[in-house]
């Protein structure tokens, strides 16, 4: 029996332009050699003048304050301060990596490849998206650590009084609004999810309860921001006629991502002091911790 093969367009490698080519040896190999030497020499001198840190021996009873993950994970540790741990540490990064990997399947147009910012408006989109990502992330961090309310109050004597207290930061929406008791315990799942996590052995059917204000602060608001603000950015730039193609949308998304990723990493690294308080880098101190005390 004959099988039907559905022909789908598959991208093929471009034909080579042989007359435009140069020899790898020496043209490319030379550059690679120079780059490798520059890095070897730089890293060699860096290693001569700067030693890798080695603190006291590991001790489970002495917790340094603050305890920090390696710097490239501090963006996640920073997120962790603002929302539900599973969301900040696992769900958001995983979903983001999947989205990142899916970029080429979303934007399949060949236009503008092989040169920097090869499409119309690419530079503009990148600058705007990065600026918004940069300042937006800073503003959100400042707001959520209560600094904006503090500055308004301290510098401009602007105080909303107790009725506006709930706007101070995300957490205060949970604590400063008159939530009725029932809203803190809404039954939503009539079975035991513990069966799956391996800590319990199943046990009788129990009911899952939802603390609505807690859920709002730890999950709903962060999701609304993290999904909503980039969407809003792209939508706004689309309405303004800046974002037209899928490539443009990705440029806005990626630009915003790089900027806010950078801010999160920097904040987590240089601006989080004891108790993960927001401080200036020169105020950053690490206490070695006292044995037997968290």
């Amino acid at each position: 029996m004959a099988t039907t093969v559905v022909a789908r367009p598959v991208a093929r490698p471009q034909a080579r332009a042989r007359d435009e080519e140069v020899l790898v040896w020496p043209d490319l190999v030379f550059i690679e050699f120079i780059a490798a030497m520059l890095f070897t020499i730089t890293l060699f001198f860096l290693s001569v003048v700067m030693n890798a840190p080695l603190l006291d021996q590991a001790n489970a009873d002495v917790t340094p304050n603050p305890s920090k993950a390696p710097w490239y994970l501090l963006n996640l540790q920073e997120l962790l301060l603002h929302m539900n741990a599973a969301m900040a540490g696992i769900i958001i990064p995983t979903i983001w990596l999947v989205i990142l990997g899916a970029f080429p399947y979303f934007d399949r147009d060949n236009e503008g490849q092989g040169v920097y910012f090869g499409t119309e408006g690419a530079v503009k989109i990148t600058i705007i998206a990065s600026a918004i990502g940069f300042f937006g992330t800073w503003l959100l961090i400042l707001w959520d650590s209560g600094k904006i309310a503090f500055f308004l109050n301290d510098w401009f004597q602007l105080s909303g009084g107790d009725s506006l207290r709930f706007l101070e930061n995300a957490r205060s929406m949970q604590s400063q609004l008159p939530w009725p008791d029932w809203s803190r315990e809404i039954t939503y799942l009539p079975f035991n999810l513990r069966i799956l996590d391996g800590t319990g052995s199943g046990g009788p059917t129990t009911f899952q309860h939802l603390d609505f204000p807690g859920w709002l602060v730890e999950q709903a608001i962060p999701i609304a921001f993290i999904v909503g603000l980039p969407s809003l950015l792209i939508y706004g730039m689309w309405r303004m006629g800046l974002v037209v193609t899928r490539r443009d949308a990705l440029l806005a998304l990626f630009g915003g991502f790089v900027a806010s990723y950078g801010v999160l990493t920097l904040t987590g690294t240089a601006f989080r002091g004891q108790g993960q308080e927001l401080v200036f880098p020169w105020e950053l101190k690490v206490s070695e911790g006292i044995p037997g005390q968290e």
């Binding site: 040896w25 780059a35 305890s67 390696p70 970029f103 236009e111």
Partner: protein, 250 residues
């Protein structure tokens, strides 16, 4: 026309000839000195390391400002980390009793130990940064577009592997920095819904960072992850060739 008699070979010519045109040398390097286009192409094509490259490439791609050598440098860091890592392995035993003492030994008594450790550490940081920058350069040159879709995905996997390599190495000095960073990091993993606690347990080999975690991280760091990364890099490089070299405008 008078034919000029060939000049008599000087002593230098003779030595050169003996050194580079003898049977043994020729068995190793089949091509002559790469001073003609033919030999230059042959030298790339017949050398397993250089053969990662094509013999000729489009002229826009040898401009430093096109790639900033970022992918190549990421790979170079990987190689450098392998070399310095192997040297460190001679002195390091991944047990709670010895790890920290070995680190102290490496940095105080071992010849060039401190230097090797520093190089390993700073190269690791450099690699994370370089890989990220490489991703940015690929994105901004639109080089993930067809037919390079899958190579971008391979790249994302390499990015994750780079983070994991660095993360697993972080625990090995067994000092306070290492211990608490991994505690924080594994707590992040443990917070995953449903599978989190199991994942954390599996990662650490227990409920806390301890001897089992050390040997797990060590094994992953020195063999498991490098092997995976090497495999994906092989795919990555192979695909670049198969996709017709680097992206260029239509």
């Amino acid at each position: 026309m008078a034919v000029e008699a060939p000049a008599k070979p000087t002593l230098a010519d003779k030595i050169y000839d003996k050194m580079f045109h003898n049977y043994v040398w020729k068995s190793i390097f089949r091509t002559g000195y790469p001073n003609t286009p033919r030999n230059q192409m042959l030298v790339v094509a017949t050398n397993v390391f250089l053969h990662l490259h094509p013999t000729r490439i489009h002229r826009t791609h040898v401009k430093v400002t096109h790639t900033y050598c970022l992918g190549g440098l990421s790979f170079f860091m990987f190689l450098g980390l392998t070399v310095t890592g192997i040297l460190l392995m001679f002195y390091y035993v991944p047990s709670v009793e010895r790890a920290y003492l070995d680190m102290q030994n490496i940095t105080t008594t071992v010849q060039f130990g401190q230097l090797m450790r520093n190089m390993h550490r700073w190269m690791a940081h450099a690699m994370v940064i370089l890989v990220f920058l490489h991703m940015m350069r690929v994105f901004y040159t639109g080089a993930y577009k067809p037919p390079r879709e899958f190579n971008w995905v391979v790249g994302v996997i390499l990015l994750v592997l780079t983070f994991l390599l660095s993360f697993t190495g972080y625990l090995l000095p067994w000092d306070q920095l290492a211990f608490w960073a991994i505690t924080v990091g594994s707590n992040i993993a443990g917070s995953a819904p449903v599978l989190g606690p199991k994942t954390r347990f599996w990662m650490l080999g227990g409920f806390e960072v301890g001897p089992e975690s050390l040997i797990r991280f060590y094994t992953l760091h020195v063999i498991g992850l490098p092997l995976l990364a090497a495999i994906f890099m092989a795919v990555h490089f192979w695909r670049i060739r198969r996709d017709g070299g680097l992206a260029r405008p239509l």
